[in-house]
Structure formats: structure tokens, C-alpha cells
């Protein structure tokens, strides 16, 4: 499969002067055509910064951003705008991104008007096809955002993002505000876009469970760094980084028979300016050792297809014992 989008050693600094902190720190990541890459992390992990960097909504301070083989790191103005139909984004809350004065039809048509040369009747037909695909009812096309629920609006938001048949689609917590059935629907549509359109999709969430049903690979972020990356099934079966283990353990299974025994982390996810030397996760890690607070782990290949950044993983002692 061909790589559609890629981050190469990307760092993004936020703040300025003495308060400058790295929101992303030397990130290597790529997503292929026909692949869904799940990106998971909590507050301060750099998820949204990552999304914006992929789309060159912000410029990295170091490293390169690639789209379909060309370096788009330094592009700006019109040359960047020309790419906007080829890489698109869906945000967490559609209620804040859709123009309240436009009808659903106009909202879906707008990207076609901006990025394609289709004439008005062809655009109209394209919107009808798109609406059918999203399973929006014809009557909904004439409504404005305030008459639709958040579940429907997120479909409209997705429709705008895929109208121009982009190569890269980035979604930042797209299911967080949705009911479970609507969230399942949206994930189903992403699976279709992967299969039928060969889109490269980056699906971002704070919860592994929200990406797990469709992601081919999962990247776990903590404090702007990748702590673990691997194929979804492998990573879920045997999470190696203590933080991945904790995240999986914090998911609440909808099964009363599986109660109890859970890894409980202390404190809250830190912000980038609270980073301590050594491993960023060490202050909250139940199995951190003295060396974890001084030596910074690098992202190493473990086995055939897994990358993990943990000093203890090398000798196979990175698993957190479950306590009551």
C-alpha cells in the first residue's frame, strides 16, 4: 500500500520564550491508502496538534509533513489552499463548525464549489449521491443546523469532509458527542470509505475503545510523544507500554461480569509544561524505577511490528501486575 500522509521527525512548540514547550516531540507517523490509523491519548497528549499538523493547519517547528510524496511543510497561501480538497478534517463538535445560516444542502455543496470545477447541476447531483451514502433523508437537506441533533450534524460534517474525495481524512474525536448507535454508524461509514474509496484515515480519540472497532493500527500518545504503536489486534491483546495497559484498563467494559481488578493511575494527565526529565510517564507509572526518571526511553522496535518507548520493555518487565 502506498503512503498517503507522513510526519517525519515532527516537533511542534507552543508558547514562547522561556515558557516554550513541545506539544509534539519528534513524531514519526504514516498512514497508507486504505488504512485507518487510530491515534489515542488524553488531554495534553498532543492529539489535536497532531491533527492540525497533518493538515498543515499549523506549521511544525522541526521535521517534515508529507502528502502523497510531496513535502508540504513550507507551503502557504494559495498553494496550500489548493490542497485543501485533498486533505480534510472532522472536528469533535459539529455544532461549532457548521454555518448556522446555511442549509444542509448548501453545506454539503460548499466544498464542491470551492475545490471542484463541477457546474451547479452536477454539484446538485453529487450532493444527492453523497446524502444517500450518509443516509441523510432528502427532507434533512433543506434544514439548517439548529433543527438537527448532534448525531445528524456530525454526518453533515463528515459529508463536507468527504465531498471532494480527499486522499487523507483526519477526524478529531468524531464520536465523543454522539450516542452509541450514531457512533457505531459513523465508524461503519469510515470502514466503507477505507474499503471503497481507499482513503487514508487518521482517527483520533481519548479512548482506545472508540477507535478499536475500525482501526488497522493504533498509536498511543503521551505528552507529545509516541509511547507505543502497533497493529490493533496485537496491541489490544498484549499492550506493552505501562500507559497503554492503563488506558485499556480504564475502559469500562459493558459487562457486569467483568468488574474489579483495574490499573489505577495516580494524578491527572500532565500538561506539556509539567513534563519532568526522563520518561514523561514515570511520575504516574506504577512500575517506574529510578532510572526511568533520568534516562529518556526511545521508541524501539519490539518483535516484528511493534514500537514501544519504555526502558523496562527491553528486558520484558513492562507489564503492570494487577492489584485490587
Amino acid at each position: 500500500m502506498s503512503v498517503v500522509a507522513e510526519l517525519r521527525r515532527v516537533s511542534v512548540l507552543l508558547g514562547g520564550g522561556e515558557r516554550e514547550v513541545a506539544a509534539l516531540n519528534r513524531i514519526d507517523m504514516q498512514v497508507e491508502a486504505g488504512q485507518i490509523l487510530g491515534v489515542v491519548g488524553e488531554s495534553g497528549a498532543g492529539k489535536s496538534t497532531l491533527a492540525r499538523t497533518f493538515l498543515r493547519l499549523l506549521a511544525p517547528d522541526d521535521g517534515a509533513v508529507m502528502l502523497e510524496g510531496s513535502d508540504i511543510t513550507g507551503l502557504s497561501g494559495r498553494r496550500l489552499r489548493r490542497l485543501r480538497g485533498r486533505m480534510t478534517m472532522v472536528f469533535r463538535d459539529p455544532r461549532t463548525v457548521l454555518n448556522p445560516r446555511m442549509t444542509v444542502r448548501a453545506l454539503l455543496e460548499e466544498p464542491l464549489r470551492l475545490h471542484t470545477k463541477l457546474r451547479s447541476d452536477a454539484r446538485r447531483a453529487a450532493v444527492d449521491v453523497l446524502a444517500a451514502r450518509l443516509r441523510l433523508r432528502p427532507a434533512e437537506l433543506d434544514l439548517r443546523p439548529d433543527s438537527l441533533g448532534v448525531d445528524r450534524l456530525q454526518l453533515v460534517s463528515l459529508g463536507r469532509a468527504i465531498a471532494t474525495q480527499p486522499k487523507l481524512l483526519v477526524l478529531d474525536e468524531p464520536t465523543r458527542e454522539l450516542d452509541v448507535a450514531a457512533a457505531a454508524d459513523l465508524l461503519g461509514l469510515l470502514a466503507q470509505l477505507r474499503r471503497d474509496d481507499g482513503m487514508a484515515i487518521v482517527l483520533i480519540s481519548h479512548d482506545i475503545a472508540a477507535v478499536q472497532p475500525v482501526a488497522d493500527r493504533i498509536v498511543v500518545l503521551y505528552l507529545g510523544e509516541i509511547v507505543e504503536e502497533g497493529a490493533t489486534a496485537d496491541l489490544l491483546r498484549d499492550p506493552l507500554h505501562p500507559y497503554t495497559q492503563s488506558l485499556l484498563s480504564a475502559h469500562l467494559p459493558a459487562d457486569p461480569a467483568r468488574r474489579g481488578r483495574r490499573i489505577r493511575l495516580r494524578g491527572e494527565p500532565p500538561l506539556p509544561d509539567e513534563r519532568t526529565p526522563g520518561c514523561g510517564f514515570a511520575p504516574r507509572c506504577p512500575i517506574a524505577e529510578t532510572r526511568c526518571r533520568s534516562g529518556t526511553p526511545t521508541l524501539n522496535l519490539v518483535g516484528a511490528d511493534r514500537r514501544v518507548a519504555c526502558l523496562r520493555v527491553l528486558e520484558g518487565s513492562s507489564r503492570i501486575p494487577l492489584s485490587r
Partner: protein, 321 residues
């Protein structure tokens, strides 16, 4: 029986009433019970009426909505027929309430500690030293470290998770018999969500407080609740003890909810679930989305089942494997 809600009906005036069919009731006969010391998880989708039920019980409905029928017996007294003054005495004292987006309930101009003191003094005469001690105790049981120091903080200085811990502390400080918490951990990070729910659970258990946790996450119900009430279109469509309802769901909507949980979701390259919301037809409101609907579903289904587990479906088989 701590709380016994029977056939609660709430009407909401629609914005475009002229020339349109009358709006269906926003709550159309909601019935459920909370047993002392047990935690009820109330689940359902956006607009199913979960928060509205809580507001109706507590006399906190917005002006456009009003109760048109039913009873809500709290320790034998009907909350729906109580005077505003009596309800005010009850709320925050014997019934704790945490609204959605709880940060809006904090007073931005008062230090955190002073708010915890005030929450006590509005309900009874206090001895300052004791009130301070209570405030610090409840803060630490909600996981706020160094409570004495944090009591000096202003609300805007707190992280989102600390705000939520504080809002829960405020609801619990007068040792209520019943706590109603509407999405108490929505929007928080997943590792902090677990911390807070664990502490809340312990606190409810330790003091034998009955709880209603309103949530969209069946995981929260499975892990922390004793009983479940599933709401759909302004009705409780299934209720019962958590182990029974999860193992042998009697209502198709409950089964669909469970099947949509990410860890149970099987997405075979593009098969999708759910669909547009129904237009509240006659008969069973879930009919337009139900895979199992038949002609009989054109008639409103009865509550099937006796005892603790019941469902509002013509085809419900309670206790069947």
C-alpha cells in the same frame, strides 16, 4: 423504597405549535424505583428524557415544560406536589443533585472552601470548625489532595477533573439519602473518569446513599450500578437488576445499545447500525428502528414482566435465556 416514580408525564410546549400535530409528551409515563443504598444507572440517547426526568422530580423544570401527571414518592412524600419552599429544603440536603456541566453550578466569585461551608449553612445552623472539617473530609474522599490548601482556590484555578470532584463534594456534603448525578464524568479523561467513579462509588456505599447515575455509557452502568433503567422516547422501556438486564435483555433497544458498545461492535467493512431518529408514531416508539417489529407494534406495548425485571415490549420474555 427510597424513591418511587410512577407514571411521570411531562409536557413541553413546542416552538411551532400552530397548525402542527400536537407534540408528543416529553415524558410519557416514566416509572422506576430507587432502593435505599442501591445505585440506579439511567441510560438512553440524546433527548430520551433522562435529564428531564431528574429535573421534573426535583422541581427544576424549565418554564416551557410542566408536569402533567404521575407521582414521585421520596420516602413516602410526593415531590411533585410539594411546595417550592419544602423542595428547596430537600434539595442539597436530603437529595444531592449534580447537573450536567457541573462547573456552571460553582460560584466563580467564592473560594471553593467557602462554597462548601455555605452549602451546609443554608440548610442548618453550623459550628464553623465542624463545617470546615466536613468540607475537608468530603474533599479528600473525592480525591482532592491537600484539601486545606485547595479550599483557598478559586473555581477558575481548578482543572476540569478537580471541578467535577468538587461538584460531587458539594452534592454529598450534607449526607443526602439520594444522590442524582447527571453525566458526572462526561468530558473527562478516561483515567480520571475511573478515579472519580471509584471514589463516588465508595462514598455512596459507605454511607448507604441511594444513587441515580445518568449516563450514555453502558460501561459505567455495568461497572458501578446495581440496577438499570433504559429510557427511550420519554419512557422507561426496560428496567431491572444490572446482571439480569445485561445477560438477558428483554427489549430490542437495550440489545441494540449493548451491540453498539465499541468492544462488542463488529464492523464488517461497512455494515452500519442505527439510523435516523423516528418521528414518534403511534404504538411502540422504537418500532421504526426495530429489526423485530411486527404489526402488533402499532399498538402501544404494555409493561411485560413482574417483580424486578420488566420491559415495555410485546415480545419481551423476562428471564428467558
Amino acid at each position: 423504597m427510597l424513591l418511587d416514580v410512577q407514571d411521570l408525564r411531562v409536557e413541553r410546549q413546542s416552538r411551532a405549535a400552530v397548525g402542527m400535530a400536537p407534540m408528543p409528551l416529553a415524558l410519557n409515563g416514566v416509572s422506576f424505583r430507587v432502593v435505599k443504598g442501591r445505585i440506579l444507572g439511567m441510560v438512553g440517547e440524546h433527548g430520551a428524557g433522562k435529564s428531564l426526568t431528574a429535573s421534573a422530580i426535583l422541581g427544576l423544570l424549565q418554564p416551557e415544560a410542566r408536569v402533567v401527571g404521575g407521582r414521585a414518592l421520596f420516602e413516602g412524600q410526593d415531590l411533585l406536589r410539594m411546595s417550592d419552599a419544602d423542595l428547596t429544603r430537600l434539595r442539597g440536603a436530603r437529595i444531592g443533585f449534580v447537573v450536567q456541566s457541573g462547573h456552571t453550578t460553582l460560584d466563580p466569585n467564592t473560594r471553593v472552601g467557602a462554597q462548601l461551608i455555605r452549602a451546609q449553612s443554608v440548610h442548618r445552623p453550623i459550628v464553623m470548625a465542624e463545617a470546615v472539617w466536613r468540607a475537608e473530609t468530603i474533599m479528600s474522599s473525592m480525591g482532592i489532595v491537600e484539601p486545606r490548601l485547595r479550599a483557598r482556590a478559586w473555581p477558575h484555578e481548578l482543572t476540569p477533573s478537580a471541578v467535577q470532584r468538587l461538584v460531587l463534594a458539594l452534592a454529598l456534603i450534607n449526607e443526602p439519602q439520594l444522590l442524582i448525578a447527571d453525566e458526572p464524568t462526561a468530558g473527562l479523561d478516561i483515567t480520571t473518569q475511573v478515579q472519580i467513579l471509584d471514589l463516588l462509588y465508595l462514598e455512596l456505599r459507605r454511607r448507604r446513599i441511594g444513587g441515580i447515575i445518568i449516563t450514555r455509557d453502558l460501561g459505567v452502568v455495568a461497572q458501578y450500578c446495581d440496577d438499570i433503567a433504559v429510557m427511550y422516547a420519554g419512557q422507561v422501556v426496560e428496567q431491572g437488576p444490572v446482571p439480569q438486564v445485561f445477560a438477558r435483555s428483554a427489549h430490542p433497544f437495550t440489545r441494540a445499545l449493548l451491540a453498539s458498545m465499541p468492544e462488542r461492535l463488529a464492523i464488517a467493512n461497512g455494515r452500519t447500525y442505527g439510523g435516523p431518529l423516528p418521528d414518534a408514531p403511534d404504538g411502540c416508539p422504537y418500532r421504526p428502528r426495530c429489526d423485530e417489529a411486527t404489526e402488533r407494534c402499532g399498538v402501544a406495548p404494555p409493561l411485560v414482566g413482574a417483580g424486578v425485571h420488566a420491559a415495555r415490549c410485546h415480545f419481551a420474555r423476562i428471564g428467558a435465556a
